[in-house]
Amino acid sequence: MSERIAITGLGIISAIGDNVHQNLASLRAKRSGIGQIKYLETIHKGILPIAEVKHSDDELLILLGVSENTGYTRTALLGMIAAKEAFADSGAKKGDGIRTAMISATTVGGMGSTEKFYLDYINPEKTGDFVKYIDSHDCGDSAEKIADNLGIKDFITSINTACSSSANALMLGARLIKHGIVDRVVAGGVDGLTKFTINGFNTLMILDKEYCKPFDKNRTGLTLGEGSGFVVLESLEVAQKAGKKIYCELSGYANTCDAYHQTASSPEGTGAFLSMSSALALSGLEIEDIDYVNVHGTATQINDLSEGNAMIKFFGNKVPKFSSTKGYTGHTLAAAGGIEAVFSALTIYNNTIFPNLNFKDKMDEFDLIPVTDLIENAGVKNVLSNSFGFGGNNTSLIFSKV
């Protein structure tokens, strides 16, 4: 069980780019992907900003190289694009005989299609082309479509622990390799934007009418985003022997539960403190070894307070450099952990810390100030990445330079 896990491939599509290269360029240029709603049909258009992937579904099909939409939802398409990039980046080939798992995470699944046609679905009198989307409603559809596209058969599953989902996908992936169940895992998550989500979060009154401002005193909520982030996990030893490109190591992980409220974090951040502590313990690192934290930092009142308090409790008066990248991508829900795993890997591989956008004034409750400018040659060896979700699900991951 002492096997170490390497990240050998990255793939991403988000509001700031269609691939790793474009995302990295936007992160460096402090270019946010948030803007007015263009693709989603909703009454909130022109009112609530969101971070959309800048393509229609038809354009995504072209990007993927698929000629006909036989029932691909936006969620499936985004996931297929990011996972395909990660798979190829790791040097994996379809049918190369390596036992491979696909672990995806999603909260909305095919809701984007369901909400367009639901009234027709439930009316047996109605017929039409929409019927092809019925079977893509559930959360497992996108994982299976991604797996089929990459020829993955050995192990397939999907996770939905709300906004910590894809961090849990990485954690499960590492454990599957350590248990010898598979030798390679494509792990991450995906969520397409839907009316269902935007209206749901709107009823909770936690959406900012401006661009989200993580860890700012005047933050008023999150900005929803969409996208997908996947990584390829393999045994570090095997990857090193094969002379593979290794972005970093997944050295620590932990999943805990706040057990406080269905949707809100506890103000003191109990679950967050526990997940950070347990992940550190597993990594074998000392607390001062953590150079940077990619915080969950959704910019809701309660998350940033809770997470800040948990960081102070955990790090004491030496909280390391930290930033939330939600100002770039919006909060991509189930995809957030995967997208931020890609960003964390890029932080280590490029030795660069990406800034927290839209921050002006520090919060009254504590003196935490995020990184607001790009830091190159940052000397980052170990990154802690937090993902917290509805249901009190907290997961922390630690990425280390190899």
Partner: protein, 353 residues
């Protein structure tokens, strides 16, 4: 990897929550099965109950019954599997949104619509701050939850895991998926499901929780000895090969299996693989089936595990589930073979402690 089953709680279309073991079974003629409700207020405070959807009541109550049955107050992890999640709350929010043009919406249904609502609610109820996860991959949902539990125990990260599978039926869900040809066109008596020989099956639902533990105890039901999944096999021979390998990995041969529990659902298009396995591998073995009692749903293998653990503990195979040869002698090893629409195959080995 293996673990003992210490406790079980199950709410299903049969009377399964109060220690009954299919002595009297209920027949349905609607092609659409719903659970028999226990008196929920005996388990959940009425104030909380009011806000809870059907599946939330079922899930939380099944978890509570399981904890009571296991005589364990606090698990080291809570893990669930569900294919469709919280259907009623999802439909409620979706319909309100579509019918009111995204206006005048309230948050409760949305908050409770996420698939991890039950694992979260159980954790809140128990104040359990430990590992918590929810798997949502069709016919692999409950299986991954079980695998995760077994891994946690093997890692020494947990010694008692509360793990459940749940799925909720609804009229709209049935109507919608009926368009894909999932369900029988003719009204079928559920207890004569296998005699129909027509396409489609009957829809069902259920909530089943297990307490898995690495500790021996005289109250343990059975040992969950092995678990395996298979995705989209090419043909029946691949399934047969997979079963052979699975048995071999567990140092067993077909003759060691005292009862094979088949996921037969009466769908003439996809049942053939079970009969193939019976003819090729288990011709001499006693058989059982279960989907005529609970209907088909993504996590119906949890019903099969409930059945198998009880059969081992009680050393009884009720008449209502028997298929072909009756069991003779002691029930030491039960093999569950299940598939969901010829896509998600799973295999479980349940043995005497």
């Amino acid at each position: 990897m293996k673990a003992f089953i210490r406790g079980i709680g199950q709410i299903s279309p049969q009377q399964t929550f109060a220690g009954d073991f299919l002595e009297n079974v209920t027949a349905y003629n609607t092609n659409m099965l719903f659970c028999i409700d226990p008196v929920y207020k005996e388990f959940i405070h009425p104030l909380q109950l009011r806000r809870m959807s059907r599946t939330l009541r079922m899930g939380v109550t099944a978890a509570k019954i399981c904890l009571l049955d296991a005589a364990i107050e606090m698990p080291d992890a809570v893990i669930t599997g569900t294919g469709f999640g919280c259907v009623e709350d999802t439909e409620k929010f979706l319909l309100a949104m579509l019918n009111n043009n995204e206006q005048q919406l309230t948050p409760t249904a949305f908050m409770q619509s996420t698939h991890n609502t039950i694992s979260g609610q159980v954790a809140i109820m128990l104040k359990c701050k430990e590992y918590n996860s929810t798997y949502v991959n069709r016919g692999f949902s409950f299986e991954t939850a079980l695998l995760d539990s077994l891994m946690l125990i093997a890692e020494d990260n947990a010694h008692k895991v509360l793990v459940g599978g749940f799925d909720e039926n609804s009229f709209n869900l049935h109507t919608t998926t009926d368009r894909l040809g999932h369900w029988k066109k003719e009204k079928t008596n559920s207890l004569q499901l296998l005699e129909s020989k027509t396409p489609g099956t009957i829809s069902g639902e259920g909530a089943t929780f297990f307490m898995l533990t690495d500790k021996e105890d005289e109250n343990n039901y059975a040992l969950l000895k092995g678990l395996s999944t298979l995705y989209k096999p090419e043909n029946e021979n691949e399934v047969e090969q997979h079963v052979n390998d699975f048995l071999k990995r567990n140092n067993l041969s077909a003759s060691d299996i005292d009862l094979v529990v088949y996921g037969l659902n009466g769908d003439a298009r996809t049942d053939e693989v079970y009969y193939h396995l019976r003819d090729k591998l288990f011709n001499e073995n006693a058989g059982a089936y279960f989907k005529h009692l609970c209907g088909d749903y993504y996590t119906s293998s949890a019903f099969a595990l409930w059945f198998s653990a009880n059969a081992i503990k009680r050393q009884v195979v009720p008449q209502s589930v028997r298929l072909g040869k009756a069991p003779s002698g002691a029930l030491k090893n039960i093999l569950i073979v299940n598939h969901y629409r010829d896509i998600n195959y799973s295999f479980m080995l349940v043995s005497q402690c």
